[in-house]
């Protein structure tokens, strides 16, 4: 945090209430930047590495200012070598460093998929616990801005079938900071998904160091009639849809997964059992995705409490087109979640 973010009490007293709120609200990107800064101060063995992350501060400004504060050894620009970036993190983690990589766009993870899946995720297991991989791979995912087929994908499904990897997916700036700090502290390798559409979202983010537990979902809104299970951008959309449903007398509970793998089954199943009607919302294509896993698990374990089938909201089974109107067709939105809530409410 800089002085600009922490106004003195004297100045606060003179600032009109609305303006003061604006000052205290911090963007998602800034919350992440703050987390990296605090973590680098805490962990001498931590370094950040990626393409254009040093002088430029990353494509979205998340690493801005770190070079000036921590120097080029710990804030390291690389050539376009995603496999070498993740391999470097893996090797450094094997000898006790705590690297944080930035893969500029999640779509580019295909270039280092082998490193993540065959090396990072497995080295603790296949070498019988002799090594750990305490590294974080931060990456910008998700669509909705005309990024086209290679700058818009939601990649959690690519990794859901990979034991050993942790997938963290915040939906708001407060969790983003706490989850990133927890991910850096974790001795397991974390794929940290940052939905680009959330980067500009703002909230009152505590300036101090704090962690948000991995593997723990949050109840983003309490309700009694329908449960919506979501992550990342689907959470604010689900909250909007829930507010609309409330106007129609439907009480919706929104479960924000926060960690996608290993996910908080206890919270999901408790909510599903309570309401008996479930919608799972996910931006990625339907087949083999997060919605498929959640739907199967809820159906298996809450069958007798369910009043009807789990309703899935997903992206269409297509690549993501460049045209914004076409992209709107392909990606799910608030209306799709609202329609799914209405369907579930009828059971």
């Amino acid at each position: 945090m800089t002085a600009a973010d922490t106004a003195t009490p004297k100045r606060t007293a003179r600032t009109p209430r609305k303006a003061r709120d604006r000052v205290r609200k911090v963007a998602f990107t800034r919350a992440l930047n703050d987390a990296l800064d605090l973590a680098m101060a805490k962990h001498d063995e931590m370094f950040v590495i990626g393409e254009d992350i040093a002088e430029m501060g990353g494509d979205f400004g998340v690493t801005k200012g770190l070079l000036a504060k921590y120097g080029p050894e710990r804030v390291r620009d690389t050539p376009l070598s995603e496999a070498a970036i993740i391999g470097t993190c893996a090797g450094a983690a094997m000898v006790g460093m705590r690297p944080v990589a930035e893969i500029m766009f999640a779509d580019f993870i295909a270039e280092c998929y082998d490193q993540v899946v065959n090396n990072v995720a497995k080295l603790h297991y296949m070498f019988d616990g002799q090594f750990k991989a305490p590294l974080v791979i931060r990456t910008a995912c998700g669509g909705g801005f005309g990024g086209g087929p290679h700058h818009s994908q939601s990649v959690e499904g690519w990794f859901l079938n990979v034991p050993g990897i942790v997938i963290v997916a915040p939906s708001n700036p407060i969790d983003a900071k706490g989850l990133l700090l927890a991910s850096i502290d974790s001795d397991d390798p974390v794929l940290f998904l940052e939905h680009k559409a959330l980067y500009r979202s703002r909230a009152e983010v505590p300036p101090e160091y704090y962690t948000t537990p991995l593997g723990a979902a949050a109840i983003a809104r309490e309700g009694t009639d329908v449960t919506v299970v979501a992550a990342m951008r689907m959470v604010p959309m689900a909250l909007d849809a829930a507010a609309k449903a409330a106007d129609d007398g439907i009480s919706v509970e929104v479960v924000d997964l926060r960690t996608i793998r290993p996910y908080d089954a206890a919270t999901v199943l408790a909510s599903a059992s309570k309401t008996g009607r479930v919608v799972v919302a996910n931006e990625a294509p339907r087949i083999g995705g997060l919605g498929a896993e959640l739907s199967a698990r809820i159906s298996e374990e809450c069958f007798s409490q369910l009043r009807g089938p789990v309703v899935r909201v997903d992206g269409l089974d297509t690549p993501i087109p460049f045209s914004v109107p076409l992209e709107d067709i392909v990606l799910p939105g608030t209306d799709d979640i609202a329609a799914a809530i209405a369907t579930a409410a009828q059971y």
């Binding site: 094997m94 000898v95 082998d114 090396n119 397991d188």
Partner: protein, 325 residues
């Protein structure tokens, strides 16, 4: 090279040969699960590397490196028999049987494990080297690769990044002429890998991988260069593997005869030692001693128990347990 050193290397090479020949026999009997790649014919390169790497150094062994794994155990106070037991998938193995031939690691002796995806650790080695550099440790991080790995993108990403960051990496490329069935000159722009490496601008050298004295001397200089902080070093060992491919021998008969009968690294070292006055009986005693040792290791592996069933779900995560069936 002093005769005592050469005799030591001769022993090391015999340990590798006896290990691989014993393993081959047990594989044919069905006692070794999975696949088998042996380092027969390549003993000199492995003995030379093992000699110069300390326990505080790191090496990533390739598929044919059972021998260097065993030598590292012997040199740094470990148990060679645990390398053998790992190949049998037993509880007493260095990875409790969870890694096998292609994923045997033991960081206590510097062995950071093979990766069955050829070339993958060309990227991993960068991180180990970077950590050593950031911490100011004079450690060498060594990637032992075959000529086939030169085709991987990570090979080039690694050389590029080691060059721009001046990392303490020793690249040991064991060019045995074939990537499974692909001749090195057909699979790459040059059959001489050092020619391809030169553009990266750091020190490289091609050596006769079947001449233990030349290989040992080259590794010695390369390691010294790296420890002095002068950046990465690439060594290409020209050699030849005795093992054919899974379907059998596919190489011309004259080629097989030449390498096995005229270029056997152990035979060549034995001739040098004999020329220096070492008695034939003393050389034969080395062979017998090593063969006897390996038979003890094989017996140990055969008698060892299977892994604890709890190992199946252990160590997937550090922070979470995974359900059992």
């Amino acid at each position: 090279m002093e005769t005592s050193t050469l005799l030591g290397l001769y022993r090391d090479m015999w340990l590798i040969r006896a290990f691989e020949q014993g393993l081959e026999r047990e594989f044919e009997k069905g006692n070794v699960p999975g696949m088998l790649h042996t380092g027969l014919g390549q003993e000199a390169t492995q003995a030379a590397l093992a000699w110069h790497l300390k326990a505080t150094d790191t090496f990533f062994p390739d598929h044919r490196c059972h021998g260097i794994n065993a030598l590292a155990q012997q040199r740094h106070g470990g148990d060679g028999e645990r390398v053998m037991a790992e190949l049998f998938g037993k509880a007493t193995g260095v990875c409790s049987g969870k890694g096998g031939s292609l994923h045997s690691a033991d960081p206590a002796v510097g062995n950071f494990g093979d990766n069955a995806v050829e070339g993958s650790y060309m990227a991993t080695v960068l991180g180990v080297a970077l950590a050593a550099k950031m911490r100011g440790q004079p450690n060498v991080a060594c990637a032992i690769i075959g000529d086939g790995t030169v085709g991987r993108g990570e090979f080039h990403e690694s050389l590029n990044m080691a060059a721009i960051w001046d990392l303490p990496v020793l690249y040991a490329c064991i060019n045995n002429g074939y990537a499974i069935s692909m001749p090195v000159g057909e699979g790459h722009a040059s059959a001489d890998i050092v020619d391809m490496v030169q553009g990266y601008g750091f020190s490289s050298q091609q050596v006769d991988g079947n001449d233990i004295v030349e290989a040992w001397t080259a590794v010695s200089s390369a390691v010294e260069h790296i420890r002095s902080g002068a950046g990465p070093y690439f060594l290409e060992f020209k050699t030849w593997r005795w093992q054919g491919i899974f379907a059998g021998e596919f190489r011309p008969e004259a080629e097989v005869k030449y390498w096995k009968e005229e270029r056997d690294p152990i035979m060549l070292a034995g001739e040098t030692l004999a020329g220096r006055g070492v008695a034939p009986n003393d050389l034969e005693a080395v062979e017998q001693e090593m063969t006897g040792l390996i038979e003890e290791w094989i017996a140990f592996a055969l008698e060892s128990p299977e892994p604890d069933p709890a190992k199946a779900t252990a160590d997937v995560y550090v922070g979470w347990e995974v359900d059992s069936r």
